[in-house]
């Protein structure tokens, strides 16, 4: 053992930095390690550190315990399904999952309700479209013919015929107006008739 060696070991025990080569030699040589330990103990005695916090053989105990420890082989043998199952099983007990799960259940119920209502409405759609029973008949203009003319109209007389039809519409409009006028004055006419029968009555206010 060289003096030079002991110098840097002594320095190391006084918390001086070590070079890489020195550290390597320290790690490889048990003799150097024991020397360092001795130096540390000397320092401790000089600093009046009478009690060491750890027993002297602490490092050896740890090394021996590691030697006795069985080796654990970590493999990916579990299938993804069982892993998810385990994950969910763990998470289900966790506090965060419960509200989320409740929300999911509510959303599912709402979805079923919406789909159900849509399906329920599908047959009802024909109810919404106007039924022929309540449809008013399409009529253009003043009034439409509901029975066609029984006489055939030859092309030569078509224009003349149209003119006559127009004339007739005019006359029918006049008759319709006359009918409406009759309905309007009917009550008065009947009142007048009654008055004539009963004798004159005082006028209403």
């Amino acid at each position: 053992m060289s003096l030079e060696n002991q110098d840097w070991l002594s320095a190391a025990s006084d918390n001086q930095p070590l070079s890489k080569a020195q550290l390597d030699s320290l790690l490889s040589s048990a003799q150097l390690q024991q020397t360092l330990e001795r130096y540390q103990m000397l320092g401790a005695v000089l600093r009046h550190e009478t009690q060491s916090p750890l027993p002297a053989s602490f490092a050896d105990d740890v090394a021996a315990a590691l030697q006795n420890e069985p080796t654990y082989q970590l493999t990916n043998s579990q299938s993804w399904f069982s892993r998810i199952k385990n994950g969910v099983a763990q998470a289900a007990n966790g506090r965060w999952l419960q509200p989320v799960a409740q929300g999911a259940v509510a959303a599912g119920v709402a979805l079923i309700a919406v789909l159900g209502v849509q399906q329920y409405q599908q047959p009802g759609e024909e109810m919404l479209t106007p039924q022929p029973m309540l449809q008013t008949q399409p009529i253009a203009g003043f009034a439409t013919p509901v029975s066609l003319s029984q006489t055939t109209v030859s092309d030569r007389f078509a224009e003349q015929e149209q003119q006559a039809m127009l004339e007739q519409q005019k006359r029918l409009q006049a008759l319709l107006n006359a009918h409406r006028q009759q309905v309007r004055v009917m009550e008065q006419a009947q009142q007048a008739k009654q008055q004539n029968n009963d004798g004159p009555k005082p006028n209403e206010p």
Binding site: Q135, P138, E167, L175, H179, V183, M186, E187
Partner: protein
Amino acid sequence: MMRTSGVCSAIVLMLLSALAQAEQVGWQLFDKVQYAVKHYNFDTSFVVLKGSKVDTYRWLHGQTAGQEIEHLIPLDTSGVDILRRDALVYYLLTDRPAFVTRASHIPELPALLFEDKDTIRQLYNAVAGSSSVMSGRSAQLLRLTAKQGGRYHYWLWLDAQTGFPLRIDTLSDNQNALERWLVTHMQISPELPENLRALMAADLPQPADNSVAAAFNSSHQLTWLPEGYQPVAEPASIPQLEGSLLSYWLLSDGLHQVSVFVQNSQRLPTQAYRDGATTIYVQTNAQLEVTVIGPVSIDTARQLAAAVR
């Protein structure tokens, strides 16, 4: 044997009483609708749908102590303002003096809402139907079904709360809707509408008393009448047709009116027209042209035209 017949008659009795009760409920609803249009202060708008033709009106009604006023305003350009104060109806024309007549209701409104219930009861069965939602209000259906064929049916939807009519459909014999009367806006208020207050006090002309019925010395005869109809004795004269009209009858069943005109033939084909629920039927032969106008089925109109001798 006795027991079964007893049970049967009990069932029949129960059915009959149920029917009678349904009928009673129907007429109660009818009372409600007639009361609503006569006694409430309201401001409404309604449309009359006749096929593709739509007429829009505003209808106001008000009542104070002892006086009733009603105003019907067509919202289309062609139309006449109609005002009723108690038993006088004024047609407020723009270019001529107002035409005044005596009537207990405006004839341009559905007569069903105003005619005497007993008259209507003779012609119709009333059955309360289901309720539905109409323009955001709860509506109760009331079906008036004609007792005799050839007369139109009515379906009324009433506001469940007030009894005010929301919709009236006129249906033909085979349940085709011919005309629809539909309320688009309705406001019932405890007070008389402001613009009616002014009309209540407005100075309006008196009815002409000289419109005494002119007798038609008819040379023709009507040999058949539809069931329930009676000719109105001495109908008013029709000055604008005096030159061409040979005979005229006005028929009424108390709710509907049908006119039968007889004129000289124009040698035009026999034809039928329809204006909403009003049928216009023209039948022509070598000498005469008979025109029947009224809310009757085409079959009835044809029979009526054929009955002129």
